[in-house]
């Protein structure tokens, strides 16, 4: 799999670190980590990562709103929801907001890798993180 520059958005420090370790074992590079939706939007502008893993339930702005805002910056952004919320409606909301995939916690490394591969195949990453215009 091609190596991607990844931003992890997650309010739990432990889960962030676990995701970082899994992503690095899968051959990717974690370039930044955000703990809130607002921070995610700011860091996305700065780093323009190839892939974003996005939690939904976070303080201040939730992951679905953060996804919408990142897609305003870069309509081809590759965003994968990584969340415990298992409701169908939440999955639909995330996909409607522009997420390219949905991984339910607890995250397993092989599943994460499969979802990244599928999402990349659908959108032709890794240039997905480049800004529009």
């Amino acid at each position: 799999m091609e190596s991607l520059r990844v931003m992890v958005v997650e309010d739990s420090g432990i889960t962030s670190k676990k995701l970082q370790m899994m992503l690095e074992r899968l051959g990717h590079q974690v370039v930044c980590m955000a703990g809130t939706g607002t921070q995610a939007v700011e860091l996305y502008r700065q780093h323009q990562p190839d892939l974003v893993t996005m939690d939904i339930t976070m303080p201040d702005m939730d992951g679905i709103e953060a996804t919408r805002r990142i897609l305003e910056i870069s309509p081809r952004a590759l965003i994968l929801m990584v969340t415990a919320h298992g409701q169908e409606q939440m999955v639909m909301d995330a996909i409607e907001a522009g997420a390219r995939g949905y991984v339910v916690k607890p995250v397993k490394e092989d599943k994460l890798g499969e979802h990244i591969t599928t999402a990349m195949a659908h959108c032709g990453a890794p240039d997905a993180g480049k800004p529009s215009g």
Binding site: D11, K18, M21, T57, A84, G86, Q87, Q89, P106
Partner: protein
């Protein structure tokens, strides 16, 4: 299906998924479970409690409250691959927060057709065995789980009289 039935369905799921989580993610077997409805004014919390609000079509709070020995053991196993934290308390809280978030979040998957619009708050934490006190007697749905390393309880608390909208504990 009425509110009470939704609540019982949610609580059944939470019980099942708590057993699964402890077994599959942590490697601990639940030795016994006691489930009951408590009619009380005061609810005693253990060493560390994680609590979140389920909003939308269901309006309740769920709390996981742990003996110190148990949450320390769960944390030790859950974080064994990570660098040690500068502050142990951060890992303890995050372990309790991740656990309630995953279990309750996953439990909502079976309620998709019955309660489509349900939201979750980020977890908050209560330390050192406080008492939750209500102004009048209230019913708390409670599960008490016994494991080798200690006990934990799960409370389903509603309606929203004990905490304000920001989940700040209301002193009575």
């Amino acid at each position: 299906m009425d509110g009470k039935q939704y609540l019982n369905l949610l609580f059944d799921q939470v019980e099942e998924r708590t057993r699964e989580y402890l077994r599959d993610e942590i490697g601990m077997e639940v030795l016994s479970v006691r489930r009951r409805v408590e009619d009380v004014r005061r609810l005693g919390l253990r060493y560390l409690t994680s609590l979140l609000a389920v909003g939308g079509d269901l309006e309740v709070y769920l709390a996981f409250t742990f003996d110190e020995s148990l949450i320390r053991k769960i944390c030790e196993i859950y974080t064994r691959d990570l660098e040690p934290a500068e502050d142990d308390d951060v890992y303890l809280s995050e372990t309790a927060g991740d656990m309630i978030n995953v279990i309750v979040g996953n439990s909502l998957s079976v309620m998709s057709d019955k309660c489509p619009a349900v939201s979750l708050s980020p977890p908050v934490f209560i330390r050192e065995g406080k008492l939750l006190t209500k102004r009048r007697h209230a019913r708390f749905l409670m599960l008490r789980l016994l494991l080798d390393s200690g006990e934990m309880s799960i409370f389903c608390i509603g309606p929203k009289e004990i905490f304000d909208e920001q989940l700040n504990y209301r002193e009575s």
